[in-house]
Amino acid sequence: MMRIVVIGILVLSSHLTAEGQIGVGVRTGVGLTTMTAVKSEPLKVVAKPGASVGLFGEFGLISTEALSVMFVTEVGFEQKGFRYKDADGDWVSFGVDYIQMPLVVKLAIGKKRLRGTLEIGAFAATPINAFARNSYGEKDRGTLKNLTRYDVGAILSGGLEFKLGPGALFTTIRLAQGFVDPYGKKLDGYQVNIAPSISLGYVARFGKGKAVETAQREVTAVQEEIAEVVKTAEAISEAVLEPESQSEQTNAQELKVVSGPGNAQAAAATSDFGALIQLNKRFDAIADPEVDTTTRTVNATEVLNQFIGPDAVVILLKSGVVVDYYSISEFLRYIELNHFKYKITDREVDASGLMSQIRVHRID
C-alpha cells in the first residue's frame, strides 16, 4: 500500500514539475500536542510540548502575480503525546515520535515581499518510538508495541512568507488533527491526536517562476520594439495620409477602406492602436523644447483628460525592467522639464475607457 502511495506521489510530482515552479524546503517547529476524546469520557489530559522537523517539496500548480497555488509533499519527524493524572494523582507522560508525511495544497496570496499562506491537506504517519514516564522519573520504552501502527488525519495551517534570496523564509501555525486512536482498544473510549504547532523554515524555489519573469521581461522588450515600429509606422502613415498627388490620394483612400470596416475586434484594436499613436504624439509635443508653451499645455491637458485623474500611475521601464513610478501629472512635468522622450508600451483602461495605468520607455 505504502509503495503505491509513494509511486503515486512520484508520478504526480513529475507531472506537476513540468507544469510550474518547484521548491525544496526545510521546516522546524515546536508544538503542544494532546489528545481529544471522541467517544468516551474525556481524559483529563494536558498538553505536552514536542518538536518537529521536516523536509518538503513544492510543486507549482498556478502562478499569477497575486496568487500561487502549490502542491506540497513533506516527510517529517514529529513528537506527539500527552500527560494525564493517574488514579493515584501522579502525573504520567506519554510520548510518541512519528514519521509523518503531509500532502497539502498551499495558497500564497499577495504580490509583495510579504505574502500570506494557507495550507489544507492530509497526513499519514507511523510511530517509530514511544515511551511512558511517571512523575518519579521511571520510564517505560516498551509502549510502542501497544500503539496503532499508523495514524491519518487532516492539516490546516496559515502563515506568512518573506521573499528572501531564491526563495522565501516562512513561519506557519499548523493544526494537525488525527483520526485514528493511537491506543486502539487498549484505553477506554476513543482518543485522537491533536497537534497545534508553530514552524519556521525556508524554501528555495527554482524553475519556471524565474523563467516567467524572464519571459515577461522579454515580452516587454518586444513591446518596446513594437512601439519603435509604431513610431516608424506613424511617420509612414503621415506621409501616406497627407498625399500631394492625385494618385497618392487614391492610394490613401484604398488604405482607409482596407483598415476601416473590419469586425468589431479589429475595429477596437485599430481604435486602441490609434489612441496610442495619438498619445505618443502628445508626449512628443510636451517634451519638445521647440514647441511653444501654450501648445505644450494644451497637449498636457488633453493627455490628462484621457486618464482617471492626476494620480493615474506611470511605470517607467528600461530594457523591460521597472525602474521608477510617477503619477501622470508628475510624469508630464518630468518629460516637459527634461525634454525626455518616452513612448507607451501598454496601458490599463477602466470601465469608463479612461486609463488608470501606463508603462512607458525612453526612446531618445
Binding site: V30, R113, L169, L200, D311, V313, K318, V322, Y325
Partner: protein, 190 residues
C-alpha cells in the same frame, strides 16, 4: 516553553532583517545604471531651471518637487565650494535647491558635462547597490550688464543607491527596487 519561543524569535530576527537584501540580475543592474544616469541628467536640467532668473516661480516650484524626488530623501546633502575660499560647506538638498533660486546675480547658468561612472553599481554588505557618478559643473554668475562676475569649474561626485523603496501614488503603493541619488560631494574646484 517561553524560553523556546524567545529563542525562536531571536533566531528569526537576523533573517527578517536580512529579508530586505536585493539580488539583482545583471540586466537589472544595467537598467538601474542607465536610470541613474537619466536621473543625474534630470537633476542637471532641474538646476538650470532653478538658477534661471527668467523662469516663473510656478515652474521653479514644480522643478523643486521633481528634483527632490530624484533623491533618497531630503536628508541628503550637497557640498559647495568657492574659488574665494578653501572651505567646503554642505547643506541639505532642499536648502541647496532653494538657495539656487535666490543667488545674488542678475543671471546664473549651471552646466553639467562629462557625466560618467567612477565606480559601477555593486552590491554592498547591507544588500543595497551602490555606485558613484562624477560630473563636471560650470557655474557662472552674471552681473546687470551681462558681464561675468564669477565662474568656477567643480568636479562633483554623486552617490547612487539602489534599494527597495515604497512609492505612493494616490491610494496605491508600489514596492520595488528603485535607483535614487544620494549626497553630492566636491572633489575639486578651479
Amino acid at each position: 516553553m517561553n524560553k523556546a519561543v524567545s529563542t525562536l524569535m531571536l533566531l528569526m530576527l537576523p533573517a527578517l532583517l536580512h529579508a530586505q537584501q536585493l539580488n539583482l540580475e545583471e540586466y537589472e543592474v544595467k537598467a538601474f545604471a542607465e536610470m541613474a544616469l537619466e536621473k543625474v541628467n534630470a537633476l542637471s536640467n532641474n538646476l538650470t531651471i532653478l538658477c534661471d532668473k527668467t523662469e516663473t516661480a510656478e515652474k521653479k516650484e514644480a522643478t523643486m518637487m521633481l528634483a527632490l524626488k530624484l533623491f533618497i530623501d531630503d536628508r541628503q546633502t550637497v557640498e559647495t565650494s568657492s574659488l574665494n575660499s578653501d572651505e567646503v560647506k554642505y547643506e541639505r538638498i532642499g536648502v541647496y535647491l532653494n538657495r539656487l533660486r535666490t543667488l545674488p546675480y542678475k543671471q546664473v547658468t549651471v552646466k553639467w558635462y562629462d557625466v560618467q561612472y567612477v565606480s559601477k553599481l555593486k552590491k554592498g554588505t547591507d544588500g543595497k547597490y551602490y555606485a558613484t557618478i562624477t560630473v563636471f559643473q560650470e557655474f557662472t554668475g552674471f552681473g546687470p550688464e551681462g558681464q561675468i562676475l564669477y565662474r568656477d569649474h567643480t568636479q562633483k561626485n554623486i552617490d547612487i543607491v539602489v534599494d527597495m523603496q515604497t512609492t505612493r501614488i494616490g491610494d496605491k503603493e508600489f514596492e520595488s527596487p528603485t535607483v535614487k541619488l544620494g549626497s553630492i560631494k566636491v572633489i575639486q574646484t578651479k
